[in-house]
């Protein structure tokens, strides 16, 4: 390790002796440290997977909202028939509902009648 940041020879000597003692670590200790590191990396990988799983439902909700918005905008571009009854008004007003999405083809057909 670089000792350029250490100001005195005392500090530099202390660092050199410490670095030497690190290099002399026995094989058993090194092996234990390697095992501990592997366990920690595995743990990090598991946690990263869990974060992706937690955020996936939120991503699906965002996609559904986007689909609803796209539907509204697409409908706005098509020539709209006049609303002639209270039932039809309720359908138009509630265009963002998921029930509307499920029956979109039925409502499109209804408009044509």
């Amino acid at each position: 390790m670089s000792s350029s940041y250490l100001e005195t020879s005392f500090e530099r000597r202390a660092q050199a002796l410490f670095d030497r003692s690190v290099e002399q670590l026995d094989a058993r200790t090194r092996s234990r440290l390697t095992q501990a590191r592997s366990a920690a990396v595995e743990e990090a990988h598991k946690h990263a997977g869990l974060r992706r799983w937690v955020f996936r439902p939120a991503g699906a909700l965002a996609a559904a909202s986007l689909a609803a918005l796209a539907l509204v905008l697409w409908r706005a571009q098509e020539p709209q028939p006049l609303v002639t009854s209270a039932d039809e008004l309720e359908v138009v007003v509630g265009a963002e509902s998921f029930e509307m999405l499920e029956n979109v083809e039925f409502y499109a057909w209804l408009d044509q009648r």
Binding site: R13, V22, A44, H45, R52, R113
Partner: protein, 209 residues
């Protein structure tokens, strides 16, 4: 039969199969890269962290446990943080583990004070390790071993905060700001603890060291 209105173009919302597969892969690769980065980081600090814990705790197994706990805690709680934050965070966790171990030891010693056991006895984990090596050692190697032994002895005699500041600055190479994060104190406190540590060590070790 009434003609059906044109169907809503749902397919326009769906990504094509090629980019979708690539997108999944690109989400997985950052996780793999991060795991590799964590492995590289821990590999770079594990031996020094063990030596620092060993000096503080004077016990191989306790030091290994402290380092292992610190690695796991960093991976669980801070694995997603920018990698440049890992070093001070890791040593902060390690210092906490060392402190916890020292406290448990103090409580244990008080409870078991009436038993005729000496917790400061040198460890003998392996019978082979206790057999003296009778090969002649080079003089400079012996001198370096002795100098390190004296330094360790002097470090263990320091107050805890001075010991921490010295080891983190000199042995691990943390700068003042990083040491402050690791110790959970201000940079001014780090400088004070460090300055006092250096003064105390020089006094104890003497000019000949």
């Amino acid at each position: 039969m009434p003609a059906l209105a044109p169907a809503f173009p749902w397919s326009a919302l769906l990504p094509s199969s090629g980019p979708d597969v690539e997108e999944i892969r690109s989400h997985e690769e950052p996780g793999l890269d991060r795991a590799r980065a964590l492995d590289r980081f821990l590999s770079s600090v594990e031996k020094r962290a063990f030596r620092i814990a060993r000096i503080a705790l004077k016990h191989d197994e306790d030091a290994l446990d402290a380092v292992q706990d610190a690695m796991l805690a960093l991976a669980r709680r801070y694995g997603a943080r920018p990698s440049e934050e890992w070093r001070p965070l890791f040593y902060r966790i390690l210092q906490n583990r060392i402190r916890d171990c020292q406290r448990r030891r103090m409580v244990r010693e008080r409870l078991l004070a009436w038993l005729p056991t000496n917790l400061d006895e040198p460890q003998q984990d392996d019978a082979l390790e206790s057999v003296p090596d009778l090969r002649p050692e080079p003089a400079d190697r012996l001198a370096a071993d002795e100098a390190m032994r004296l330094l360790e002895h002097a470090l263990t005699a320091l107050p805890r905060r001075q010991q921490q500041a010295f080891m983190l600055r000199v042995f691990e190479g943390l700068d003042t700001a990083q040491t402050a994060v690791a110790m959970g104190c201000t940079e001014g406190s780090v400088k004070t603890h460090y300055s006092r540590a250096v003064h105390a060590l020089r006094e104890q070790l003497g000019a000949a060291w």
